[in-house]
């Protein structure tokens, strides 16, 4: 089966749903949308099973001028172990979330449009991971940004924009403005990153004369290029990755992006799109391997973001915002891993994170649904009684993300921490601290939502329906058992995942004595368990609602305000100023026109309409010319 089928199926779904929405009454649109993603999943599965060690490269058609080696760049798809894995995650998790959405979005008037956008997103994400060149990857890159924009702003006029009640309408309008602003912010911040990505491409082209990834991979190791150039290119690409993955300093759009419907948060802002930055760096491993400084930057950006996200998550009160900051933090882990050249560990965490974070978001969505759009954790509690199935699923997710043994997060986080320990002790300490904080805020989330007494306003919350339970169940199973794909050697495993990915991405094996490994593992587990126990203790003391750090954490370390003051406000002011200047250029010219019209005024005085005035002018002119002529004749003739 050709690779282009992968993005083609969801694209067809998108085209049908957006062009002919009337053809799909009721839930038909949801089923069509899910079916196209399932079809892609089948293709991805088939390609995975039929995969060999040589990557598949299928060229489609000529696209961009002169951007391959002495030729025009073609659009084409490229499938190696990394992209096969990503394609499976995207279509698999994507399919589950589509099914979930059929129920979750069932009552939304824009149901069809929602699935159109979701399909569009899946198609773009598949193009991103399957692209055989950086520009084509950029298509998917901005395409997912576009989809993200559309979906964050899905309720662009609020959810009650047609309400006749004045208060309801006013609230809806405010919600609309907030949603729209969040969407726009996401797109613009992504664009900042995209400029970095573009500059990286330009520099790569300057250095190597091609933007095709296979050609680059073949050319880079042997080429005689100054290291500074590679470092700079890698830093440019890092800017791109930072923008897409919500890393510091371009992180503030990601928490705001929770304005979108919950399945969107699960699919785009947790499981897939935001991990594109990790994918980009892993895909460019042949460059980062040659750029130690840039790699260190990647690792530190990741480490600091992990810390930032964890600190910001400590005292959030929105059920989705906690998860959003958690995503920021976990993405930081992945960056840390790939920055330390532990690509396999980073991608493995990407995989397990996709499972447990999607699971957490979807169960949060189920709760929000049950409580009629209530999102404040202080108005929840005790949901365990009302929604036992969802509770179990959510618990699996919490245990996974906290790194409790046998759950998937344990294995992936452990690998990252091990890599950090060998490369940079300082980063290891940061990582370990973040692990503790993670366990705490996830424990806080769990206890506030599911335990204690019910504080909600809805009399009898209902358990989710079957369509929601199935994806939750599957994801819970994956979040629990996914870690066994990559059991490390000292635990008696065979590094199956590392070996698989190692066929495409070189794995830098860290030689750590087994004893040290055990020690590291114990420390990590201790951090996870400690964090959960800390949360439990606070829960017992009923002081959990007010997390540590107070306002500083709630306001996400005031980063938003700093940006608005440092960048937003000045650039608006400059725009204002330039506009005035531009009209002023006009003004200046108008002034010149007036000045030149002043002698014109004299002339118009002369144009008095009196015939004789005109005649005198004529006479004077004639007399002047003839007089000059006569004088000249006298002078010359004499």
């Amino acid at each position: 089966m050709p690779l282009y089928l992968l993005p083609l199926f969801p694209l067809i779904g998108f085209a049908l749903l957006i062009l002919f929405p009337r053809l799909f009454p009721g839930r038909a649109a949801g089923w069509l949308g899910s079916a196209t993603v399932l079809a892609s999943f089948v293709v991805a599965g088939a390609r995975y099973l039929g995969q060999t060690d040589t990557p598949a490269h299928e060229v489609l058609w000529t696209w961009l001028p002169n951007m391959a080696l002495n030729a025009n760049l073609s659009a084409g798809f490229y499938l190696d172990q990394l992209s096969a894995l990503m394609a499976l995650i995207i279509t698999g998790v994507g399919f589950l979330i589509h099914v979930y959405s059929v129920s979750y979005m069932g009552h939304d008037p824009k149901f069809t449009r929602f699935f159109a956008f979701m399909n569009f997103f899946v198609a773009m994400m598949l193009i991103l991971v399957l692209a055989d060149s950086y520009p084509l990857m950029f298509v998917g890159w901005e395409g997912v940004g576009t989809a993200s924009y559309l979906l964050i702003g899905f309720w662009f006029s609020g959810r009650n924009s047609e309400a006749s009640d004045k208060d309801l309408r006013g609230a809806s309008d405010r919600e609309g403005v907030a949603n729209s602003n969040a969407a726009r912010k996401a797109f613009i911040m992504n664009r900042i990153g995209d400029l970095g990505f573009m500059l990286g491409m330009f520099l790569l082209f300057k250095l190597y004369g091609t933007l095709s990834i296979p050609e680059l991979a073949a050319r880079v190791p042997g080429a005689q290029v100054a290291t500074a150039g590679i470092e700079l290119a890698c830093l440019f690409l890092l800017v791109g990755a930072i923008g897409k993955s919500g890393q510091l300093p371009l992180t503030t759009w990601l928490p705001d992006a929770m304005a979108g419907p919950t399945p969107v948060s699960a699919l785009i802002h947790a499981a897939t799109m935001v991990t594109a930055g990790v994918y980009l760096i892993t895909r460019s491993h042949f460059l980062y391997d040659l750029a130690p400084v840039a790699s260190t930057w990647v690792a530190w950006v990741g480490g600091l973001t992990a810390l930032y996200g964890a600190l910001s998550a400590l005292n959030q009160h929105d059920i989705k915002k906690i998860l959003a900051y958690s995503t920021v933090s976990q993405l930081g882990y992945m960056f840390m891993a790939v920055g330390l050249h532990a690509y396999s560990a980073g991608v493995f965490h990407l995989l397990t994170h996709a499972f447990f974070k999607a699971l957490l978001f979807l169960s949060a969505g189920a709760v929000i649904h049950a409580l009629h759009e209530e999102q404040d954790v202080r108005a929840m509690g005790g949901m365990r009684k009302f929604m036992p199935f969802t509770h179990i699923a959510a618990l699996m997710g919490v245990l996974a993300i906290s790194g409790i043994p046998i759950w998937s997060g344990f294995f992936s986080k452990d690998a990252i921490l091990a890599a950090a320990y060998t490369s940079s002790p300082l980063l290891y300490v940061v990582g370990l601290g973040v692990a503790l904080l993670t366990a705490f805020y996830m424990g806080r989330w769990y206890f506030l939502v599911w335990r204690g007494e019910y504080r909600g306003h809805v009399p009898h919350p209902h358990e989710a329906d079957g369509l929601i339970k199935v994806p939750l169940g599957i994801l819970a199973a994956l979040a629990t058992l996914g870690g066994f794909l990559n059991v490390p050697a000292f635990l008696g495993g065979g590094h199956a995942f590392d070996a698989y990915l190692g066929r495409a991405i070189p794995v830098h094996l860290h030689e750590i004595p087994a004893a040290t490994e055990w020690l590291l593992t114990l420390l990590a587990v201790a951090a996870g368990v400690g964090g959960l126990l800390w949360a439990l203790a606070e829960h017992r003391r009923r002081s959990l609602a007010d997390g540590p750090l107070g306002q500083i954490s709630s306001n996400a370390l005031y980063l938003d305000r700093v940006y608005d003051g440092l960048i937003g406000a000045p650039s608006r002011a400059i725009a204002e100023g330039l506009d005035v200047v531009d009209r002023g250029v006009d003004g200046t010219l108008a002034g010149i026109a007036r000045t030149s019209a002043a002698p014109g005024g004299l002339f118009s005085l002369w144009q008095s309409g009196f015939v004789r005035a005109y005649a005198v002018s004529m006479l004077l002119g004639t007399a002047l010319i003839l007089g000059y002529w006569a004088i000249k004749t006298i002078g010359g003739g004499a």
């Binding site: 118009s604 144009q607 008095s608 309409g609 009196f610 015939v611 004789r612 005649a615 005198v616 006479l619």
Partner: protein, 100 residues
């Protein structure tokens, strides 16, 4: 026979007198009469040159100028008459509708 230069000088003088008339008189008809003077000055010069060069072309031109003058007088006087009817004046300074 007087040399051509004399005729040209006379023509120039006549032209200048006509010009001054055009500029100083305010009655439309007087302006018209002065214009006729200027036309005659030009005619005189043309005929003088025709003799100097022995070419009848200039005389033809003078003939045509005369015809034009006739036409011009016919139209011009008609305009003056109709203006006078409307404005009861032939003072050119009152006719300042072309003010810029």
């Amino acid at each position: 026979m007087a040399p051509t230069a004399y005729y040209i000088a006379l023509s120039g003088l006549l032209f200048a007198i006509g010009m001054i008339g055009v500029l100083t008189r305010r009655t439309a008809i007087m302006v018209f009469l002065s214009v006729e003077l200027m036309l005659n000055a030009a005619n005189l010069a043309l005929v003088a040159f025709a003799r100097a060069w022995g070419d009848l072309t200039a005389q033809t031109a003078v003939f045509i100028v005369m015809t034009l003058a006739a036409a011009e007088v016919a139209i011009g006087l008609a305009i003056i008459v109709s203006i006078f009817r409307k404005r009861e004046t032939t003072n050119v300074d009152d006719l300042a509708g072309l003010k810029g």
